[in-house]
C-alpha cells in the first residue's frame, strides 16, 4: 500500500510545471483567446518533443507508455497553467479512445501521429439528449457499399475545428459503433460554441450523410458500448485532474494574496473568515487530489472499484473545484472580479470542465447504481 508519487512521478510533475511556468504564463492563454485556432502550434510541437503528447501511447507507437496516473499528473499541471489547446481532446479522447477500441492498423496509423504532434483528435460524445450515457446515441450509420453513411448532430465537441479526426458514436445495423470521421470532410459542418472559457473550444458538429469506408469503424462494429464507457471514465478522471490543477492554482493565489493584502491595519489572512475559508479550500483540494489519483490508479490497475471510483472522482471534484475557484474570487475582493487579474482563467477552466463527461449529478446516479444496484 503506497498512496504517494514515486520519484519518477515527482520528477515528471516538476518538469511539466517548470516548463509551463516558463512557456505558459497567464499571458499565453490570454493571447490565445482571440486566436482562430486557439492554440499555439509551436508550443504544441515543443510538448510533443518533451514526450507529453505520447505519454499514454505505447512505446511501439512512438509514445512513453506511461499510465493514467502519469497522464493525470501532466494534465493537473496543464490545468494549473490554464493551458489553451487540444491536449485532453487529442491525447485522452483520441489517443485513449483508439488505444481502448482501435484496430492494429488504426493504432499504427494514428497513435504515432498523435505522439509526434502531427495530428490532433477529439471525440463527439454529446448529443441533444444531453446524456453522457453512450446508450443515448441517436446518430445513425447506414450500411453503404463496404462502408457506412453517417448522420447526426453532436454538441460540445472539444477542439473539433483543429482536429484531424473525430471519434463519432453512431447506431449501425450491428449496434452501437464508433467511427473515425474527418471533420473537414464534405458533409460535416462545424459551428463554434463559445463558452465563458475562451481557452476551451467547442463545436457543434452536424454530420449529414457522410460516407466513410470500412476502415473507419473503430474495432468491430456493434462493440462501441464498453469502449465508450471506458473512455468516458478515463476522460472524466482526466478532466478532474485538470480541474484540480485549476483549483490548486486558485488556492495558491488566494493564500499568497491573503498574506500581503492589508485591511484594518493587518493582513486579511489574519481574519478567521479568510483563514478558515482558505483552510476549507485546502481541504477540498487535498480531497480532490485523493479522488483523482485513486481513480487514476484504480482504472490503470483494473481494480474492482475502478468504475465507481471514476464517478466518485468526477462528482466530487466537479463540485469542489467550483467551490474553491469561486471562493478564491471572494478572498480577493474586487480585484478578483477583474478581467486583468488572472483568477478567472482558472475559474473558467474548471467551470468548462464541470459538465463535460458527466456532471456531479450524472455521476452520483452512476455511483448509486454501482453501490445499490440498478433502479
Amino acid at each position: 500500500m503506497n498512496f504517494s508519487f514515486s520519484e519518477d512521478q515527482v520528477l515528471l510533475r516538476n518538469s511539466v510545471r517548470s516548463f509551463l511556468d516558463e512557456h505558459c504564463r497567464p499571458a499565453h492563454p490570454r493571447a490565445m483567446m482571440d486566436d482562430a485556432r486557439g492554440y499555439d502550434p509551436a508550443l504544441w510541437n515543443e510538448m510533443a518533443k518533451l514526450g507529453w503528447l505520447g505519454l499514454p501511447v505505447p512505446e511501439q507507437h512512438g509514445g512513453a507508455g506511461l499510465g493514467l496516473v502519469e497522464l493525470c499528473i501532466a494534465i493537473e499541471e496543464l490545468g494549473r497553467a490554464a493551458y489553451p489547446g487540444p491536449y485532453l481532446a487529442t491525447v485522452v479522447l483520441g489517443g485513449l479512445g483508439l488505444l481502448l477500441g482501435g484496430s492494429a492498423a488504426q493504432k499504427d496509423r494514428w497513435l504515432p501521429a498523435i505522439a509526434s504532434g502531427e495530428k490532433r483528435a477529439s471525440a463527439a460524445l454529446m448529443e441533444d439528449a444531453l446524456d453522457w450515457d453512450p446508450a443515448s446515441t441517436a446518430a445513425t450509420a447506414v450500411t453503404a457499399g463496404d462502408g457506412w453513411t453517417i448522420s447526426g448532430v453532436k454538441r460540445f465537441v472539444p477542439w473539433a475545428h483543429v482536429a484531424d479526426i473525430v471519434l463519432v458514436p453512431a447506431r449501425s445495423p450491428e449496434g452501437l459503433s464508433l467511427f473515425l470521421v474527418d471533420p473537414k470532410q464534405a458533409g460535416v459542418a462545424l459551428r463554434r460554441m463559445v463558452g465563458i472559457d475562451l481557452c476551451s473550444r467547442w463545436s457543434e458538429m452536424r454530420i449529414e450523410s457522410v460516407r466513410v469506408g470500412a476502415d473507419a469503424v473503430v474495432g468491430q462494429p456493434g462493440t462501441a458500448g464498453p469502449v465508450l464507457e471506458s473512455l468516458l471514465r478515463r476522460a472524466a478522471v482526466c478532466a478532474s485532474a485538470e480541474m484540480l490543477g485549476a483549483a490548486r492554482r486558485c488556492l495558491d493565489m488566494s493564500v499568497e494574496y491573503a498574506k500581503v493584502r492589508e485591511q484594518f491595519g493587518q493582513p486579511i489572512g489574519s481574519f478567521q473568515a479568510i483563514r478558515h475559508r482558505c483552510a476549507e479550500m485546502l481541504l477540498e483540494v487535498e480531497n480532490s487530489h485523493s479522488a483523482v489519483y485513486y481513480a487514476a490508479w484504480a482504472l490503470e490497475a483494473g481494480a474492482e472499484d475502478a468504475a465507481v471510483a471514476a464517478s466518485i472522482c468526477k462528482s466530487y471534484v466537479s463540485e469542489s473545484a467550483r467551490r474553491v475557484c469561486g471562493d478564491s474570487i471572494q478572498v480577493h475582493g474586487g480585484i478578483g472580479f477583474t478581467w486583468e487579474y488572472d483568477l478567472h482563467l482558472y475559474m473558467k477552466r474548471a467551470k468548462a470542465l464541470e459538465p463535460l463527461f458527466g456532471d456531479a449529478e450524472f455521476h452520483r446516479e452512476l455511483i448509486t447504481r454501482h453501490v445499490v444496484g440498478a433502479r
Partner: protein
C-alpha cells in the same frame, strides 16, 4: 503509487478475520465486566496495544497491521474494548514520555483493563484555549497537591486513573507553566459527577479535585513541559483508526440502503426515488474520498513519518463528513430517523453507533455533533491548517503576552 495491499497484509487480514469468527462475543455486551472480558480476549489475541513496545506488553506492530485489525473489528461490528482513553491517549503518552518505571508500572494494566483511565484536560474556562487551565499542582516535597475542576471528562465515572494537566508555575507565560501528571482517581480528594449529554446518556463527567495527591514519581516529562506533551498526545489515536472509522461509516451506509429499499413513500420504495438516489450517491462519494485520505495517512505512517498538522485536515474532513452523513441519513429516513423506540419492526432501523453498540439512527445522529467539538473543534483545526500548513498570519490575540494570571 500502488494501492494494493501486500500479500503479507492480505494474509494478516485473513488471520484477524478468522480469529474474530472464533472469538467474537455471541451476545451483546451489557455490563462493564462483560466488556472487560471481551477486552482481555482481544489483548490475548494480540490485538490491543499493538504499536507499543513488546517489553511492556505491546506488539511492536506496524501501523498497517494496527489499521487492519481496527478495520476488521469495524467490519465485524465488534464491540469496542474498554479503556479507550487508556489505549488511545494515555498509554501512547507514557510510551513516548514516561520513565521506565512508569512504563513498567502502568502499561500492562492498561492493556489488561485492570486500570481504566480518563483524560483530565478541559476545564470550565479552558476548552479550546486549553493552556488557560487553572487547576493547580503544588510541590510539597515528595508529592504534589492538586486543587481545581475538570469537565467533559469521558469515562470519568469509571476511571481508576487520570492523565492530568495542571499548572505548576502561574508566574510564567501560560503555555510554559503546565505539567503533565498521572493521578489516582480513587482517593478522597476526588469527586466525580456524571453529566447527562444530548444523547441522554452520561459518558462524560465533571471532576472536582480538592487537595488530591499526586506522587512525584507520577510526573510525566519535566516540569513545565505539559503543554508540549499534550500537543503530541492528540494525534496518537488517529492513524490506527483511520480505516476503521470509514468501515464503520460504510456498514452504517449499508443499513441505510437496506432501509431505503424497505421504506416506501406513496407505495414506491425510497431507493427508486431519484432525489434519494442523489443523496445516497453523494454520501458514498464523500465516504470513499475519506477512505482514500485514510490510505494517504497510512502511507505516511508506514514510512515512519508523522502527519503533523496534516492530521488537522484529516480530522476536520472526517468529523465534518460524519455530520453531513448523519444529517442526510435523517433526511432520507424522514421522521423515522428520529425514533428511539416504536419503529415498525419490519423496517429494522437499528445500526451500529459511533460507540460500537447496536443503537438507533437518532443516537448516531446526536453523537455526530460531538466529533467537531472534541479533540480540537473544527474552528481550531482550521486555525491550525491556516497557520501551520498555509503559513497565513496568526490573528492578534489578547493572551500572547504576559503570565497566566
Amino acid at each position: 503509487m500502488d494501492l494494493n495491499y501486500t500479500p503479507e497484509d492480505v494474509a494478516f487480514r485473513k488471520s484477524v478475520r478468522a480469529w474474530l469468527e472464533q472469538n467474537l462475543p455471541r451476545n451483546p455486551i451489557r455490563t462493564l465486566e462483560e466488556r472487560r472480558v471481551w477486552h482481555r480476549r482481544l489483548y490475548e489475541g494480540g490485538y490491543l496495544g499493538m504499536g507499543w513496545p513488546k517489553a511492556y506488553g505491546g506488539g511492536d506492530a506496524r501501523p498497517m497491521e494496527q489499521a487492519i485489525v481496527a478495520d476488521e473489528l469495524a467490519r465485524a461490528s465488534a464491540p469496542a474494548p474498554t479503556n479507550g482513553l487508556g489505549l488511545g491517549i494515555v498509554g501512547p503518552t507514557i510510551v513516548v514520555h514516561g520513565t521506565d518505571a512508569q512504563k513498567t508500572r502502568y502499561l500492562r494494566k492498561i492493556l489488561a483493563a485492570e486500570e481504566l483511565w480518563c483524560q483530565l484536560y478541559s476545564e470550565p474556562n479552558a476548552g479550546s484555549d486549553l493552556a488557560a487551565l487553572r487547576t493547580r499542582a503544588e510541590d510539597k516535597g515528595d508529592h504534589f497537591i492538586v486543587n481545581g475542576q475538570k469537565t467533559w471528562t469521558s469515562a470519568g465515572s469509571i476511571a481508576d486513573w487520570g492523565l492530568l494537566l495542571a499548572r505548576t508555575d502561574p508566574a510564567v507565560a501560560k503555555h510554559k507553566g503546565i505539567t503533565c501528571f498521572l493521578i489516582n482517581m480513587r482517593q478522597p480528594g476526588i469527586e466525580v459527577r456524571p453529566l447527562k449529554q444530548i444523547t441522554g446518556s452520561s459518558e462524560f463527567s465533571e471532576v472536582f479535585m480538592t487537595s488530591a495527591r499526586v506522587e512525584k514519581t507520577d510526573q510525566i516529562g519535566r516540569l513545565g513541559e505539559g503543554w508540549a506533551i499534550a500537543q503530541t498526545t492528540l494525534g496518537y489515536e488517529r492513524g490506527g483508526r483511520a480505516l476503521a472509522r470509514i468501515t464503520s461509516y460504510a456498514s452504517q451506509y449499508g443499513r441505510l440502503v437496506e432501509v431505503a429499499r424497505r421504506l416506501k413513500r406513496h407505495g414506491r420504495p425510497l431507493i427508486d426515488d431519484p432525489v434519494i438516489r442523489q443523496k445516497l450517491g453523494r454520501i458514498w462519494a464523500e465516504l470513499e474520498v475519506e477512505r482514500y485520505g485514510a490510505l494517504r495517512t497510512l502511507t505516511l505512517l508506514e514510512r515512519g513519518e508523522h502527519p503533523g498538522a496534516g492530521g488537522s485536515l484529516t480530522k476536520l474532513s472526517y468529523s465534518e463528513f460524519e455530520k453531513r452523513f448523519m444529517e442526510m441519513a435523517m433526511e432520507i429516513l424522514g421522521p423515522y430517523g428520529q425514533l428511539t423506540e416504536g419503529a415498525p419492526e419490519e423496517l429494522r432501523l437499528e445500526i451500529d453507533t459511533a460507540v460500537g453498540e447496536q443503537g438507533t439512527w437518532a443516537y448516531a445522529f446526536l453523537w455526530s455533533r460531538a466529533g467537531t467539538i472534541y479533540a480540537g473543534s473544527s474552528e481550531i483545526q482550521k486555525n491550525v491548517i491556516g497557520e501551520r500548513i498555509l503559513g497565513l498570519p496568526k490573528e492578534t490575540r489578547a493572551d500572547r503576552v504576559g503570565g497566566a494570571r
